[in-house]
Amino acid sequence: MKLNNPRYNLMELMVCVASRQLEDGKTAVIGTGMPLSAAMLAQKMASPNLVILFEAGGVAPKLERLPISVADSNTQTGGLLHTSMDVIFEACQRGTIDYTFLGGAQIDMYGNINSSMIGTDYNHPKVRLPGSGGANDLASLCWKTLIITPHDKRRFTNKLDFLTSPGYLTGPGARERAGLPAGSGPYKVISTLALMGYDPETKRMRVESLHSGVTKEEVIENTSFEMFFVDPLPETPEPTDQELRVLREEVDPLGLVIGKSGQ
């Protein structure tokens, strides 16, 4: 993936764009890595009252250092509540959690995610991946699911090797027919190339803005399924100097997330 702008790398770009999708005054259960960096940045920028919860039981901490585990001490510093995993997922199931923010090895056109295995034989996987963790639960129960992932043909796949966590499943109405909570589902996908959302009618993924310097053709080349585009198609606002400063100095000074290559 080429990136012409010397001001930021691909990880910084994704985290900054992702952070702007989290509205102030909402609740969010967040996974480690890029999603958490984005949520921490959001809190320090436009969404100071974003309530961050961790599936292990940490609620509304004053996040001082970027946690490396969703259970480590950094998820608990200055917290409003130290509780347990069942309580967090029950809050999701009850309908009180607005966002979840996840990663994943593969994503399809309906926002379904694979984080379980690569290969064709479940019992003899080519690569065994961690599994659902809390992802199936969060993608089932939170109102809006955001995904952050590098953009390539392998990840943006036509057919998942394993459907770990539900997006819109097979299309409009499929979540409700399956028994999942009405009105919940995929919301945004932030990649190295674009910001994507979903067509409200077809539930198919579509590009809502292209990152600076990226072309439609580049997105099409790097996506295995047919990608749609809104018209007119805007450009994603670039990371601002202030976003980059806060991200580098306050959110991830050790470069745990933004120091990685983005591939």
Binding site: A71, Q76, T77, Q93, P125, R175
Partner: protein
């Protein structure tokens, strides 16, 4: 809700019985006496963990885990265990190193969150040596909870429409009141639960500080419970702040005094994780030959967990990890204490 609910079949194997009557019979005969249960980790593992048992590891993979018990299960060559792969990271890595289990309920395995995937755990799971059934963090937590409640299942609103459901042993049911489609997850009664805590008395009354993850329920659904503790305290100390009590004495079978017992994991309010040593694990695992020597050095070739701590810098390193711990009690950093003897 007139629509006929189709029965969604799952094909995963159920590795443990959700029968509440069997569980009640077991719990009926379990002694309630407030007796001294203090013993070494070696004794606890040889007495209470048997080949073939189903194990639930408390904490969260690399946070507040009972590392000494996990090492001892490897050292004693425990085999054919069932494992609840719930939030399983470094704990999973240890038991995979010993090839201790041959069946696993999977919510989160093989990975160590931001640290990447364990090469050895991956090889073990990709080898076909382990029977797998898929779940999720919530469903395994709720399976513990159902067992703790003494009911054979809990209704939930997750897994639906996914391969996680297909490869689980959950079942689709209809709510008898509303007709709502639900997924029933079966009670999980592990044979042995292992939990590391901040303080315990010799009878098993124990407390943790900070988040409890699924341990409140692990401490109730497990048939036998081994507690390792940072500190041994008098029962009066427990009574001072009973809201913090995780498990009362009559559920506990063994209490082991293991300072730094979550090492190299994080122990909230005590010490942070040893990321350098965890990185050594990850590096050594890349080459099976190198990893064999690594495990010989750190587990098979030593007597107990205190030797493991010594191999990793002993008290000096532990003091550094205390300095790195961000959570402080009452604003006062807990000072590193010498020793670790009883």
């Amino acid at each position: 809700m007139n629509e006929q609910v189709p029965t969604l079949l799952s094909q995963g194997e159920l590795f443990s019985s959700p029968c509440v009557e069997e569980a009640r019979s077991f719990f009926m005969q379990k002694p309630r006496t407030m007796s001294n249960k203090l013993m070494s980790v070696s004794e606890a593992v040889s007495r209470f963990v048997h080949d073939g048992d189903y194990i639930a590891s408390g904490g969260f993979g690399g946070v507040r885990i009972a590392t000494a018990v996990l090492h001892e299960m490897v050292r004693q060559h425990k085999k054919n265990l069932g494992l609840s792969g719930h939030t399983a990271t470094h704990d999973f890595q240890i038991l995979a190193a010993g090839r201790c289990f041959d069946r696993c309920d999977i919510a989160y395995i093989v990975g160590l969150e931001m640290r990447g995937l364990s090469a050895n755990a991956r090889r073990y799971m990709e080898s076909g040596a382990v029977k797998m059934t898929e779940w999720s963090n919530a469903t395994l937590a709720w399976r513990y909870k159902a067992a703790s409640m003494g009911v054979p299942f809990l209704p939930t609103r997750v897994l639906m429409g996914t391969d996680t459901m297909k490869y689980s042993a959950a079942k689709t049911i209809e709510c008898p009141f509303t007709g709502q489609k639900l997924v029933a997850v079966p009670a999980l009664y592990p044979d042995v639960g292992i939990i590391h805590v901040h303080r315990a008395d010799i009878y098993g009354n124990c407390q943790v500080d900070g988040i409890t993850i699924a341990d409140y329920d692990v401490g109730r659904c497990s048939k036998r419970i081994i507690i390792t503790t940072e500190r041994l305290v008098d029962t009066d100390e427990i009574r001072k702040d009973p809201l913090k009590t995780l498990v009362p004495f009559w559920l506990v079978d063994a209490v082991c005094h293991v300072p730094y017992g979550s090492y190299p994991g994080n122990m909230p309010y005590e010490y942070f994780s040893d990321e350098d040593h965890l990185a050594e694990w990850m590096e050594a695992e890349k080459d099976p030959g190198v990893f064999e020597k690594f495990i010989d050095k750190y587990i098979y070739g030593i007597k107990d967990f205190s030797e493991y701590l010594e191999l990793n810098g002993g008290e000096a390193r532990m003091a550094e990890l205390r300095e790195l711990e961000p959570l402080q009690r009452d604003g006062v950093r807990v000072v590193a204490r010498a020793g670790g003897s009883r």
